[in-house]
Symmetry: C2
Subunit: 237 residues, 2 copies
């Protein structure tokens, strides 16, 4: 077994996109969108259309998750007074109040039998299965997950939420809606403010949606920084 | 402050897409792709073109991450003998050997000064900044991250890897490449097999890429299951 770095020489699209852009028509949209997006630092207050917010939420909703449990929710916040209360909790990052829609991704604090009731009930009714069709699968999942600590399970749920967070980011970018992925906030304080403890949820990341104020955003014209591709991808040949 | 569920009545796109599909032309691609994709259970062995794999890797590479550190790598495995060794480690899920390209997302096991050297060096050279331009930012990040446990930092890195995992999933779906997001594998054994400990990495999730064998895949025709949208999104008005 040899390992090697993913060389620029194997990086076909760089060449092909220059010589034959149409070849890549179908998938250029996501790549272009991801090149276009950046963590917007200053928003201009313009509201995102409800239709677009809806599509972003739909993308988040369609994200896959471990065993299909979707162990997280997306909170949609448009109330300006509430956003003002969140502002200091989010280290005074102004996008919190300058965005039109603030999404909060909040993961389950644990797996529980009640949550399994809900998840398996939904699977059975959606797929029109006999009531006991998933009993073995449920037993297997319960055996694995209910014996673990709440902390371990929460981390597992948080990871699933990040897939959804990624889908929302991708959707926003494709819609040319600006967004700022944020982890810099005091989650325990936000959880209290939003009453998440009563819901068995913990906030994990924020996504303000809006439009860039390009003339007042220090980041907008800076080059995107990424680990060089030939170091990011490690090829096992 | 009132909280409410995100009602079907506010779910504009359902109505609009029926009456005016062209309105949504721009963003339907991602939503359609996410509707189309599923966790493929049986692949047919057909190889994914290098160009497409490349685009999927580019989407993974473009994912945002906390402070732009990109604290993970994507391993690209095409060696069939190596895939056979991974098979039992991944609970004999046949997609491991039936896919043409197996992606392994592996997160940093910790933040370290050497890694900060590399990350900040790259930021400085990419943006052509004075050598000391990021000193304050670096001090702030080091103060926050180097005092935490390796375990906490690894979990943080793993979450970032999941955003990238989401982007790869979205890209594969847009390219109509099938993929199976997988967590069901023995990470410590895979880490040893791939020599990840020497690289300071830990595997967190797998993504076999290939094409569905629809006639032998029990999942392909089952309805996608998701938490009802009006429960998934919690609206704060």
């Amino acid at each position: 077994m040899e390992t090697s770095f993913y060389g620029e020489s194997t990086f076909q699209s760089k060449v092909n996109r220059r010589t034959s852009p149409k070849l890549f028509k179908h998938h250029m949209e996501l790549i272009n969108a991801l090149e276009w997006r950046y963590a917007t630092k200053k928003m201009n207050g313009q509201a995102v259309d409800a239709d677009k917010v809806d599509q972003i939420l739909r993308a988040a909703h369609l994200a896959p998750s471990s065993a299909g449990f979707q162990p997280y929710h997306v909170l949609l916040i448009t109330n300006q007074e509430l956003k003002k209360e969140i502002l200091p909790i989010a280290n005074n990052q102004q996008q919190i109040v300058d965005c039109s829609h603030l999404l909060v991704f909040a993961a389950w604090d644990n797996y529980t039998p009640a949550r399994f009731d809900s998840v398996f009930g939904n699977m059975i009714s959606t797929r029109n299965l006999p009531t006991n069709a998933l009993d073995d699968f449920r037993k297997q999942m319960e055996g694995m997950l209910l014996s673990r600590s709440a902390e371990t399970n929460f981390e597992h749920c948080a990871r699933q939420a990040y897939i959804s967070f990624g889908m929302a980011l991708a959707a926003a970018a494709e819609l040319q809606v600006d967004a700022t992925p944020m982890e810099g906030f005091k989650a325990p304080l936000l959880d209290v403010l939003l009453g998440l403890d009563q819901k068995g949820l913990k906030s994990v990341c924020l996504l303000p949606l809006g439009y860039r104020d390009a003339s007042n955003d220090w980041l907008v014209n800076l080059k995107k920084v990424r680990t060089p591709m030939d170091q990011f991808v490690i090829e096992y040949k």
